[in-house]
Each structure stands twice: as structure tokens, then as C-alpha cells.
Symmetry: C2
Subunit: 353 residues, 2 copies
């Protein structure tokens, strides 16, 4: 506990024989400071090992160089990739990243957003909790001009940037993919329809069926609560007991889809021969399960990067009222054996190339 003193701008001022204000301005490249002085100050700062006190600056500016992140759960491949992208980009821009998870509970989302607000974050990146309907807790931020970027699970009506994928089209294409493989009765594992992502995927599914002359049968659309393995298995069990069971499943995530594969295999149902399956997200398990799961890939890392950039941009431009933009990223259908009926002999073990 030697508690070495940190170097402050006052120390630099003394060393440079000028005032602290000059040092401050010099280090910030303020225009009213001469080139010579700037250079001198910056060199002295380096020489003396000066490090700005972010708390002091934050107090004064009522804003810290920190990006707040609010996700449902960190411990999920999508979130982890998202956060990783955010962190990487933020750090390059000189920002720190403060994280919090709502565990998909509205209540936690409210209190966490408040905690981040209290930390004077420069901006907030949010992926909504499953439960969230009301958005009042984000008003603080907009009232104070703190930029918010919603990612992936976004609200329909809120004046802020959005970084999303086109869930409708992705759902449409995933369903169409199954249709192309010859499926006639395609079931759907649907997530909470309150959340844009699941709603979009489901709408895409319905329209794809309609556009290809297939009936939309409500008994084939299974509402899920958490899209877990277990739910996936249970739903598959229910579906396969129908008088007229489906020959394809489009699941709104990979986890439930893998549950379906597992259960189908247990029943001796041939995947994809009798039942073609496609998931969503391209989680690591998708390429490992047997047969490998077809899925829709989701550019999670890139979404994080873009969100962070948006925050940094808005935070540094301050005045300019950028109209809230919605950025839509591309998804990609990854066709693996769980849905491909043409080439691979059903039952052949999967090889990854």
C-alpha cells in the first residue's frame, strides 16, 4: 500500500510552468492553444506518465466514457458474441463497457437500466427482456440526450437506433427452404409473439406457406415459453402424435430444434427423411448435433460492433440530431443435413468439411 500519487494536470502545469486550464486544453487539442504548447504538454504528459482521472472528467461533464450494455443473459452464445463485438469496438474507441443482464425479467431490466443511468454511461445498448412491454425506464436516457441503440430484440415504437436482422425474411426463407426440400406440412416452434424477433419469424413462416400454396394450420404452430431443449422435445412429442404429423419443423431457435432432433432420433424418426428440421442462430451445437442442424446464421458480433460504433458516433457528435436509424443486417440460411433431402443418404453420419 505505497499509494503512489497519480500525476494530475496540476503536476503537469507546474512542470510546464503554465496553468492547469492550459494543460487541459492542450491535451484535448483545444483550438485556442498554440501548437507548440500542445506538443509540449502532450510530451510532458507522456514523460510523467499522466493518466486522466476519468471520474473527475465524468463528474464535470456528467458523462463517462463508458457504454452500458443490457442483455437478457450473458451466458448465451448470441449474447456473448454480441458483447464481445461491443467490447472490441468500444475499447478501440477508448470506451469501457459496463454489462448487466436482466435474466429476461422486466423488473431487472428496469433496475439495471437505472443503475447504468446512474453510472452516467455515454450510451446504452439494449436487447430487450422477453417480458418487457413498457419502455418508460428508457425515458431517462432520451430525456438526457443519452443515445440508446436497441439490438436484435427491439421495440416497435421508440425514438432510437435499431440494429436488427430481417426476421420476417429470415423466417420466410427458412420455411421456403423446407418447402424446397419437399415438405408439405411444416410445423413451427414459435417464441413469444410480443418480441419482434419471434413475431417476425412467425409471420415469415406463415407467408411462406401461403405463397407456396400450403395451408397454415394452427395446430402446427406451437407457442414456446423459453425455446429450451425440453420444450423442444415436448413439442415434438406432441406433434408426432398428431393424426397427421408434420414432415418439417422450423424452430425459432437452435436449442429447441436440437431438442426436436434428439426426440425424433429417440423415436426412430428419420431426420431429414421423415422430418426435416431447421433452426435459428447457428449456435455451436447446431453444427455438432447429429445430423447437423440447418439454421439461419445471425451476425451477432457484427451487430455488437455496429451498435458500439453508433453509440460512439452519437456520443461524440453531441449536437447533431441524427435521426434514429434502423440498420438491418443480412442473415444466411445454412443448409446442413437436418433439412437436406437430396444429396446425403439419410442416416449417413455427418462430416464437417
Amino acid at each position: 500500500m505505497k499509494a503512489k500519487k497519480e500525476v494530475t494536470i496540476y503536476d503537469l502545469a507546474k512542470a510546464l510552468n503554465c496553468s492547469a486550464s492550459t494543460v487541459s486544453r492542450a491535451l484535448n487539442n483545444h483550438k485556442s492553444i498554440s501548437q507548440k504548447t500542445r506538443k509540449a504538454a502532450q510530451e510532458m504528459a507522456r514523460a510523467m506518465g499522466y493518466r486522466p482521472n476519468v471520474l473527475a472528467a465524468g463528474l464535470r461533464n456528467n458523462k463517462s466514457k463508458t457504454i452500458g450494455v443490457l442483455v437478457s443473459r450473458i451466458n448465451r452464445p448470441f449474447s456473448a458474441a454480441l458483447i464481445s463485438g461491443i467490447e472490441e469496438t468500444a475499447r478501440k474507441a477508448g470506451y469501457n463497457v459496463l454489462i448487466s443482464q436482466s435474466s429476461d425479467l422486466y423488473e431487472n431490466e428496469v433496475s439495471n437500466s437505472r443503475a447504468l443511468y446512474d453510472s452516467r454511461v455515454a450510451g446504452l445498448i439494449v436487447s430487450l427482456a422477453m417480458e418487457t412491454r413498457d419502455l418508460e425506464h428508457f425515458r431517462n436516457f432520451s430525456d438526457q440526450g443519452i443515445p440508446i441503440v436497441f439490438v436484435d430484440r427491439v421495440p416497435d415504437a421508440f425514438d432510437a437506433c435499431r440494429v436488427v436482422i430481417d426476421n420476417y425474411t429470415a423466417g420466410y426463407q427458412a420455411t421456403k427452404h423446407l418447402i424446397d426440400q419437399g415438405c408439405k406440412r411444416i410445423a413451427h416452434f414459435a417464441g413469444s409473439q410480443h418480441r419482434n424477433i419471434y413475431d417476425g419469424r412467425t409471420r415469415g413462416y406463415r407467408d411462406a406457406l401461403k405463397d407456396h400454396g400450403l395451408p397454415v394450420e394452427e395446430e402446427l404452430i406451437i407457442p414456446f415459453k423459453t425455446l429450451s431443449f425440453k420444450e423442444g422435445r415436448k413439442a415434438t412429442k406432441k406433434l408426432m402424435r398428431l393424426e397427421n404429423p408434420p414432415d418439417g419443423i422450423f424452430s425459432a431457435n437452435d436449442t429447441a430444434a436440437v431438442g426436436a432432433i434428439m426426440y425424433a432420433k429417440k423415436l426412430g424418426i428419420d431426420v431429414p427423411g421423415q422430418l426435416a428440421i431447421i433452426g435459428f442462430n447457428d449456435d455451436p451445437i447446431a453444427s455438432i448435433v447429429e445430423p447437423p442442424l440447418s439454421t439461419v446464421s445471425h451476425p451477432a458480433g457484427k451487430m455488437g460492433e455496429i451498435s458500439a460504433l453508433k453509440i460512439v458516433d452519437q456520443s461524440e457528435s453531441e449536437g447533431d440530431t441524427t435521426p434514429p436509424e434502423t440498420i438491418v443486417l443480412e442473415t444466411e440460411i445454412i443448409a446442413r443435413q437436418s433439412s437436406l433431402r437430396e444429396f446425403p443418404m439419410p442416416g449417413t453420419p455427418a462430416l464437417d468439411r
Copy 2:
């Protein structure tokens, strides 16, 4: 941009007709303030919606209620679970969590630790980068009395808390498990021996062989750089081409082990019949791959919780010089089909219970 003013202790003081110092002390339950005054101040604070300015307090105390986390990569099941555990616990204790990832590069670890230091974190939780040898960059923290907790990938010599598993015993047991299944020539996928976790696992492997009268053959110990799928496949290829190929593999992580399973299946090698495999970590892919991968489970979330608690405790007790403690958590061998030779008929598809 209405920029509503935040309530400060000065506002409270005015409303209570007392001084700001009294308010400050009242809110912090300082003993020199009467119960009545405390209650009044706390009620008024609630009534007026007062929220302490953490930056101001941080500036004054030269310390913020924030825990810094430094991992190699966020986007990995173990790290994500660890961070999740940290976040949950930290938040309950009123702390925020600042994250950063080194991407396993020493250089990044140094600059990130510096950034966290500059943020005046109350404590630091670190899992070392693969590369790291030198620990000078953590001296700042210990010099300032800022608690550090090393997790999982820890250094051998540094005066700080450690939260780890017993890698030696885990490696020993994993190897013994294979021996118990009748394996006579067990190969090992070894991680960088500079890192305690891999070194421990490898030592456990060696000793288990010795203790059970099996020779330790260096050609069966494959040094890995990243323990990736691809490396796992490549190593398996090499091993199976040996004159006398192994009948078991203990991999230092699940990813490489899954690579081995994939490759073995491609070659038509029976797992576990001809080649029993066990991994490490119990990643989600382990229970999905076919056959399901035996592994050593790692209490990542719990490690995060404990680390966060350690930081909070040390940070709040301030004076007490707690001797740096090493906490060792239990691991568990999860025996799945990739290594179980008794009950399941080789080749039977996996069923999850």
C-alpha cells in the same frame, strides 16, 4: 433534451433544513448522526428521488463501486458463465461490472488492465491470457491496495486470492476413468504448459498412468496451441496413424475432444469401443455430440460468484489484511457414452435421458 436536474444532497439538505454533510452522513448511516435525522434524510431522499452521483463519490474516494473483469475471450462458454456469475453477484451487492477481453494476447491484457485501473475499479477479477508470463501490470493494483482475484487461469506466484479447480486431480480422475474403462494406451491433448490449468491436467494424466502401471509415452502427448476443433482433428489423424494407435484420449478441453470424435467417426473408428474419449469443461456441445462426450464439469458460474464476493468483501473491509486465500472448487466427472464401454452397445445412438 429537457435535461431535468438530478437531486443532490444539497437539495436534500435544503429540504431538511440541515447541511449537506449531515445528509451525506445520514445516508451512509454514519454513527455520529442521530437515528431521527437519519430516518428523516433517508425518507426525504426516497421522496425526492435522490440518486447518489457515483462519479462524485468515486472521485472523492478515488474508487468506484465497480468490479473490473479481464478474461481471454467473452465469447466462450466458460467465460460467459463466469461473467454471468460475477455480474449477478456484483449487482446484488450494488456493484457494476466492467468487462474486457484480452483475446489471449499479453499486450491486450496489459492495456486492458491499465484501462480498468484508470477507471478506479474497486477490484479486479482476472483469468490470464494464454500468453501471459509477466505480471508487472497487476502491480498497480496491489500497490494501491486494490484487491485482485485470479480465476481459473491463475499465476503461481502473486500475492492475491485465487479461485480455481483442482486441475491435477481432475486430470488424474479423467485419466483414471479411461483406465477404468479398460484403456491401455491413452493419448492426451495438452494445452499450453505455461498455464496452470493445462499443466495441472497434464500432470494428473501422467501420474494416473504411472499409478496404474501404464507407461507414459511422449508420442501420445500432443501439444496444442488453441485446443480447437481443427487441431483436435489433426491430432487424432496423427495419432491414429501411429503404428500403435491409442485406445483412449483425454483432451484438455471439449472443443478439441469433439474434433476427435468427429474425425474418428469419419474414419469409422468406434467410439468408445476402439477409442474412448473424455474432454474437459462440459460445454453445451459435449452433451450434443454423438456419442455424447464424457467430460469434467467446471463450476464456472460459481467461480464467478465467489470471485465477486471476494472482491466485495475485501473492498468493504478495507483495513483488514486478509491473507490471500486460494479457494478450490469441486469438479465432477460426467461419464457419457464417448467413454463408457460397459452398458451401452457400441454404436447405439445416444439418447438423453
